[in-house]
């Protein structure tokens, strides 16, 4: 098995992390283990960052075939055009460099967020007032659509019709906004 950090030397250090019941395996060579801080048993305790780095580097070699996965080498080459942070650095630091990193690394983020946030990947909270714009209406429409679905399932068609009308009115407000821009 190849080291998942350098992809050159054989992996001789095998670590297993269990976080929230999710098992993550790390296979690295001794040199990378030291350099990347996997073997920090000295003064410094295993920090949150170390844990996070472990989470980000989950896709190294395929567990069964031992083949280096394509997505791994692809992700290593990702680089944020705005701040210059590479995916490799992101994985090492456990931190984003700027808002655009979220877009650059978007394909890689859902598994990470799922682990860290108990399966959640989508924001369901506050929307900024001034910047939020149509998002408030959009969110309201989405919530109503979910309500509508429930009402239909419960065969409460009278109530459902009212909700449908509300959604229509919100939708037309949203479209008017788009046309105006």
């Amino acid at each position: 098995m190849e080291c998942q950090e350098c992809n050159q030397r054989p992996a001789t250090v095998h670590l297993t992390q269990v976080i929230n019941g999710q098992k993550t395996e790390v296979h690295v060579c001794e040199q990378c283990a030291k350099e990347k801080g996997y073997m920090n048993y000295g003064e410094e305790a295993f920090t949150l960052n170390d844990l996070l780095s472990g989470l980000f580097n989950t896709e190294g070699t395929h567990p069964i075939s031992g083949q280096k996965s394509q997505s791994y080498s692809h992700s290593q080459q990702l680089k944020c055009p705005t701040c210059g942070l590479t995916y490799k650095e992101f994985a090492r630091l456990g931190k984003f460099g700027c808002a655009d990193c979220y877009k650059t690394f978007d394909d890689k983020l859902n598994p990470i967020f799922r682990r860290v946030h108990s399966g959640n990947t989508q924001h369901d909270g506050k929307i900024p007032h001034r910047q939020g714009g149509d998002l408030h209406l959009k969110k309201e429409a989405e919530d109503l659509k979910a309500t509508l679905q429930k009402l239909i399932e419960q065969e409460e068609f009278e109530e459902a019709a009212k909700v449908r009308d509300k959604i229509r009115s919100l939708d037309s407000q949203l479209h008017r906004g788009e046309d105006g821009e």
């Binding site: 979220y102 989508q122 900024p128």
Partner: protein
């Protein structure tokens, strides 16, 4: 108001007010992590960028007032001695991270110290707002309004799907950390807190000991906070935390009652012994001081001791930490000297109160 004011008083003015359930809950806090959309986050940002971020606060918000929080003062980390920074950390006005990363980092603090906005911490902005006792809902409401107030002038890094974008993936979404500081001596004495922790963790909440190394709770003070910030609304997170804290309050009261029923004399003995140690010792380590202060606080809550106000205990909890002791002594002290100084300070404070 000046830096001197932050330094002189051990407890912030807001801590002197009594809050709901204050026999068990010391304080409620809401923290929001926010970033400017147009600048890289502090971890990769150049000095020029950090300076620009700081300038916005100096130009737009300094000496402004938001609701009852009047006259925000900006304290720049570069201007502070290390002991001064430590004092601000001990007062929870700034985080250790902010104290360590001094370049162009600052805290904007309201006069009553209830609001503190850290600038160029791990994120550009960390808003924190405290309330005495158990008042999470109020804290959320006001912190959110404060957030809106800043957003009138600042373009936040926000994404429709990911929410507020933060430097660390553990904060993305709401960017909110809600936490409650609790004094749980009876649950600690009866080992119940250890048994409850795994269940609390399963709800996406964390229990931590404070003022202690690792998870050890010095002085039986525990912090309960949310771990998950993505996929749940701020209100839902606070509601979850609220219901767990409510449970803990009930359990703690029940455990206190049970101890009183079974072994009131033993408890009384323990409380008065601790009081004796605090009143008479000449050398006291922080760990013992915290334990005795916890016993004394319990003694006050249970009515064994009625001539000492609890605010003095809050004050002593902060005053007896290394930063404040040294600030008070106006000198750098080694640990042995600190233990002596700590003992004399506690004696002085408790005797002073006896005479009144």
């Amino acid at each position: 108001m000046s830096l001197q004011q932050f330094m002189n008083e051990a407890i912030s003015p807001w801590m002197k007010q009594d809050g709901p359930d204050s026999d068990i809950v010391l304080s409620s806090r809401i923290r929001f992590a926010r970033n400017f959309s147009q600048y890289p986050f502090p971890i990769v940002a150049g000095e020029e960028t950090l300076e620009k971020v700081l300038e916005v606060f100096k130009n737009e918000f300094k000496h402004q007032s938001f609701r009852d929080y009047k006259d925000f003062e900006i304290v720049q980390m570069n201007d502070l001695q290390s002991i001064e920074k430590r004092v601000l950390v001990e007062k929870h006005l700034i985080s250790p991270h902010l104290a360590d990363h001094s370049k162009h980092s600052a805290a904007m603090v309201s006069q009553n110290e209830q609001v503190s906005i850290m600038i160029n911490e791990e994120d550009h902005i960390r808003i924190q707002l405290y309330f005495p006792g158990f008042q999470l809902d109020r804290a959320l409401e006001q912190a959110s309004q404060l957030d809106d107030w800043l957003e009138e002038k600042i373009d936040y890094a926000f994404d429709e799907h990911r929410g507020y974008l933060t430097a660390c993936p553990t904060n993305v979404g709401t960017g909110m950390r809600a936490s409650v500081m609790m004094h749980l001596p009876a649950l600690a004495m009866t080992q119940q807190i250890n048994r409850m922790t795994p269940a609390i963790n399963q709800l996406g909440l964390v229990v931590r000991g404070i003022y202690g190394e690792g998870s050890e709770a010095l002085g039986n003070i525990f912090q309960i906070s949310n771990q998950i910030t993505l996929g749940k609304s701020e209100e839902d997170i606070v509601e979850d935390l609220h219901s767990v804290v409510k449970q803990l309050i009930d359990q703690e009261r029940r455990a206190r009652q049970a101890i009183m029923n079974r072994s009131a004399v033993q408890l009384e003995d323990r409380i008065f012994r601790s009081y004796g140690v605090l009143k008479n010792s000449r050398i006291i380590e922080s760990k013992e001081a915290a334990k005795c202060l916890s016993d004394l606080r319990l003694g006050i809550d249970l009515g064994f001791i009625d001539h000492i106000p609890k605010t003095i205990l809050n004050e002593l909890m902060v005053l007896t930490q290394p930063g404040f002791l040294q600030q008070y002594a106006k000198a750098t002290l080694n640990p042995d000297e600190r233990d002596i100084r700590r003992a004399s300070l506690i004696r002085e404070r408790l005797h002073l109160e006896n005479k009144e």
